[in-house]
């Protein structure tokens, strides 16, 4: 803080509200635990000590009402697809979706013969970041989260959108 030390009267910082919001949002992406298949194991590994999801402020939440990001980790069946949609609707705005792995992205190995598998979770919910892999390594999921953070940082909540 050397450069900023003792530069402000009464701790007033002048800046844009959008920047403050984006800073706060992008550094606390609490994610909804959504382990559906083997990708969930990689997600757990990402959250554990070695890869440490928490250093990005990502905390696992068990309720959609407390979560900002839904990480869809695994195969989404037709039966589950409707539930995914409902849980996404229960999340408070602003909300984001990461589609983790090839199953959630496109149906993966069930692309041709899986009559019961949803061919991409983007058919039921809007997806922000796709993470490829089968399953993706924890580094890939971290990369996906960083991409999402970049996206959040460019958001404009109060400022006029440029035409």
């Amino acid at each position: 803080m050397g450069l900023l030390e003792h530069k402000f009267n009464d701790n007033i910082i002048v800046g844009q509200v959008d920047n403050l919001l984006n800073w706060a949002r992008s550094n606390s992406p609490w994610y909804f635990q959504f382990g559906l298949a083997c990708c969930a194991i990689e997600m757990m590994s990402t959250a554990a000590a070695r890869y440490d999801f928490d250093r990005f402020g990502a905390m696992p939440r068990s309720s959609p009402r407390q979560a900002d990001v839904m990480i869809v980790a695994g195969t989404v069946t037709m039966k589950m697809g409707l539930r995914v949609r409902r849980l996404w609707e229960q999340m408070a705005d602003p909300k984001y979706v990461i589609s983790m792995g090839s199953c959630a992205t496109s149906g993966g190995p069930y692309w041709q013969h899986g009559y019961h598998v949803l061919k991409g979770v983007d058919l039921v919910v809007p997806v922000d970041v796709y993470v490829p892999g089968c399953p993706p390594r924890p580094e890939a999921l971290l990369e996906g989260l960083m991409k999402l953070q970049e996206k959040i940082k460019k958001e404009k909540t109060f400022a006029k959108l440029e035409e």
Partner: protein, 168 residues
């Protein structure tokens, strides 16, 4: 007891219900009439020299429109005597009814529901015969040979399975 002994024991007890005994195939089996199955199942479990206390698996088989046959295969095992037998029950593909043995072996509950889910075989006397794996409002039975995938499920498109071109 050998499988031949089990067959003789059943044939003595239920002459008409026992259709066939195959001692040559890899999985040697006894074929039974659907109508007599519940009595045979109770006997298989409760007779002290048979004592089939464990139902290992129930499988459905669709033989296709050509043969017009549907089968249910029961794999039985006795923990007491360490012997095994396979029971087969067959019937027509359309509207195939089999007596439920859910009250004899508790394991049959979910296995019968799964067989119903995949093949549409109705197990009479089951307490709550509804789909086990697929959603309850799914159309059709996926493991039947003439299964056609539905176009939409709650507004979500269900992609068609493209048949692979076979090279001659």
């Amino acid at each position: 007891m050998t499988r031949a002994d089990i067959y003789t024991r059943l044939a003595d007890q239920f002459g008409d219900s026992i259709v066939e005994f195959n001692d040559e195939s890899l999985q040697r089996y006894i074929r039974i009439e659907p109508s007599g199955w519940y009595a045979v199942a109770t006997f298989l479990k409760e007779a002290p020299d048979l004592a089939f206390d464990s139902l290992m698996c129930i499988a459905g088989v669709d033989r296709g429109p050509k043969e017009d046959q549907m089968e249910v295969v029961y794999a039985l095992f006795s923990m007491t005597h360490r012997h095994k037998i396979t029971i087969k029950i067959s019937g027509p593909r359309a509207d195939f009814h089999v007596p439920s043995v859910e009250s004899v072996w508790r394991l049959a509950d979910w296995h019968e529901r799964e067989t119903y889910d995949m093949f549409g075989i109705v197990f009479d006397g089951h307490r709550r015969l509804k789909r086990l794996l697929l959603p309850e409002d799914w159309e059709g039975f996926p493991l039947r040979k003439d299964y056609q995938v539905q176009d939409y499920y709650h507004g979500i498109r269900v992609p068609k399975i493209k048949p692979k071109k076979l090279t001659p």
